[in-house]
Amino acid sequence: MPVDFNFMVGGEAGQGVQSVGFLLAKVFARGGYHVFADQDYESRIRGGHNFFRVRVSDSRVGAIVEAVDVLIALNRDSIELHQTELASDGIAIFDGERIKDTGSDGGLFSVPLEKLAEEKAGGKLMTNTVALGAALELVDYDLEILNTVLVEHFGEGKVADGNIAAAAAGYEYAKTGRKGSVRQLKPVSSTKRMLLTGNEAISLGAIAAGCKFMAAYPMTPASSIMEYMAAKSKDFDLVMVHAEDEIAAVNMAIGAGYAGVRAMTATSGSGFCLMVEGLGLAGITETPVVVIDAQRPGPAVGLPTRTEQGDLQFILHAHHGDFPRAVLAPASVEDAFWITVKAFNWAEKYQLPVIILTDHHLASSYATVDPFDLSKVIIDRGLLFSEKEEEPSEYMRHRVTQSGISPRAFPGLSRALVVTDCDEHDEEGHLTEDAGERTSQVQKRLRKMFSLRQEAVQPQLYGPKKAETTLIGWGSTYGAIHEAVGILQKEGTSVNMLHLNELWPFPAESVADVISKAAYSYVIENNATGQLARLIKAETGRDVSGRILKFDGRPFTPSYLAEAVIKEGC
């Protein structure tokens, strides 16, 4: 019987929901399982209600599911809000000595979490780890794996020892307090997989691609990128500047890009609003820069800790005037790594801003992936000026070429002077108002899109080549849509999916072709208006049959999508 098991940890901010969730994910990843985990939290430091879901499977998973097999309820809200989500044989672990009068006791299993933490582990702080130990007993898992992970997580010493004792206490209590486990989840293999979030994958991609400069201003859900980059900066020829605002951040990154290093910034929608003028600066000065927009629901502050794909149309059009840009949207944690490498190559080859559109769901969800094959990371810095081939005194930063790409020189590294201007400029880079120069510079910049279009990868069609219904998605919804297609196929629906992780240049021909072959086509988007559907219409002239949209700040689940598709009459 295939394994597909779902844990949930619920509690207030400050109760250790995140750390128990992460540890759960980690111990199952270590046991050879595939894991997908997401975090649902409020915009506050203490209190409120947060939960962390950990899905454990023996095959690859890329989405969350609703039914909870084991719930660790660290507070009353977790029972009240999630008891109904328990699977028919699901169990909720809670501390019956602290949470009384729970109403229905369906599936409830009381463990004196706080008492055990105080008596066996030396303090209330370990309450969450007692619950973790109990949860692992319910699935008859190997506690040794947890012990190893705890030592790695906390470092050898008192804290790790306390947590090990706490886990053991919970495990023992559950063993004697209940008859039999819910389900046996024994470690299945010693396959080594990484467990990481979308933001961590982006950070690793950036470092692998040779990003040497980052400037940013903290904003959920992008902040962990700047924190990771800062943490690794000492050992990786990298500088991360915590700037005074997003305007400074993008302009610093552009300054560094002009000076010849790979540079980036990361923010969320309203921070990106402040970066928009910088986008045009990169456009007209032809300076490479990578900008991460980890979307959250807007407008303005919106829902700060939740997810949405509402920035697509904004990102495509942000700034005045015409200039080339590229927009990429990673489909999964693994894709986030490779897309980031591609973003740095494109930014330098085509000397333009590249925006990576991710979102809270991908940014903060954990997934297991095979270790990235670094021998496949190709670095392409594009056309570079060489003193051997050209006289430095004749160098012109914005030389008009057939491809539109002018070789880059870096200031100070040769005698070539590198001149550029956010005013319209001549080939040398000096400001000009000449009509002819203006026309040739605009055309030169736009010509770069021609080569970029040749390099763009066509979106992949998953499932049968021909199907009655095609589902079209972009970015982080890949996992949920992919699984929904599987559900629908099992139910006899003729369905396939087209997923886009490169949005600009837009792969108009392949999208038009797929739409023309399907009787019905639906876009699936985490926004209120169907922004991809509008893009498809604009670029292909075609209408999709319908839009399956969700804009409550929560991610799609496969079953939600399958039901929505069936409701459309497919």
Partner: protein
């Protein structure tokens, strides 16, 4: 040997008699006297008449957005620590649009030199009040007179800048000496430059300044390392206006704190993706 002809740039499009000419002359002179070759210099400017200055000399140029030369300059300085990075603004660009960057660049004490052409009026947009216009200055956008001006010198000092000077475009020899010291100083060096605008500011003219400016170095006993004394001089504006180095102190420099930069300029380091292997292992 570096000569003035190495720094011969395009023909300036400034009004005849503009204070900018004195600033351009002083800058070129400073770079020549310091024997810095043009390809080692990066001028990062904003928008306004001051922003055009880099085009009228000869070196690397990043003519940035309005108000943003300082962050662009910081990024370039960190990317290549061998470059002499000088940001150039006007009073609108630097103290209005770019005010936040000014404060924080001073606070973090980045190792760049910042020239602000301060003519107390908007030139390029034709005569509106600027953040440093004298209180009561009536213009098309300030019919009731301008509000109290920003005091850039005191703002730089209290924000943490380690070199704060004021020059006068009408005395380019003196200004050149300030620019030289600003470039040589390690840390954020502000040189606020009194710049007559012959077209739109008929109040703060060459003769108005000449009657008032005096050189701090001519006063025996003035100690630019004394913050209190410096702040007192920063507020002196009326009958007498001090020019020269108002405040100077050796303070920790942002770039010096970054261990990575001690190994040489970032731009000269190679890219080695396989080094990331050790990071991948941390996630297994």
């Amino acid at each position: 040997m570096v000569t003035l002809s190495d720094y011969a740039g395009l023909q300036p499009a400034w009004c005849p008699g503009c204070g900018n000419f004195g600033i351009l002359k002083a800058l070129n002179q400073a770079l020549v006297e310091l024997e810095i070759e043009p390809h080692h210099v990066l001028l990062v400017s904003g928008i306004g008449q001051a922003g055009k200055l880099p085009h009228y000399t000869r070196c690397n140029v990043f003519n940035s957005l309005h108000g943003r030369p300082v962050p662009s300059a910081i990024g370039a300085r960190i990317a290549n620590s061998d470059l002499v990075v000088i940001a150039v603004s006007g009073d609108g660009d630097g103290y209005g649009e770019g005010g936040n960057h000014f404060i924080h660049a001073a606070r973090r004490n980045h190792d760049i030199t910042y020239l602000v052409h301060n003519n107390q009026v908007y030139g390029l947009t034709k005569g509106q009040a600027s953040p440093t216009s004298d209180a009561g200055f009536v213009t098309k956008t300030t019919p009731y007179g301008a509000a109290n001006p920003v005091n850039p010198v005191s703002l730089a000092i209290v924000s943490g800048a380690s070199f704060v000077a004021r020059g006068f475009a009408g005395d380019s020899e003196h200004l050149a000496s300030l620019i030289k010291q600003g470039i040589t100083h390690r840390g954020f060096s502000l040189i606020d430059i009194l710049q007559p605008c012959v077209s739109f500011n008929h109040r703060n003219t060459y003769s108005w300044y000449r009657e008032r400016v005096y050189k701090l170095e001519d006063e025996s006993g003035y100690d630019p390392g004394d913050k209190k004394a410096a702040l007192e001089r920063a507020f002196e504006w009326g009958e007498k206006i001090p020019i020269g180095i108002i405040y100077m102190k050796k303070l920790p420099v942002y770039e010096d704190q970054i261990l990575t930069l001690r190994k040489g300029p970032l731009v000269t380091r190679g890219i080695t993706p396989e080094r990331v292997e050790s990071l991948l292992a941390e996630f297994i």
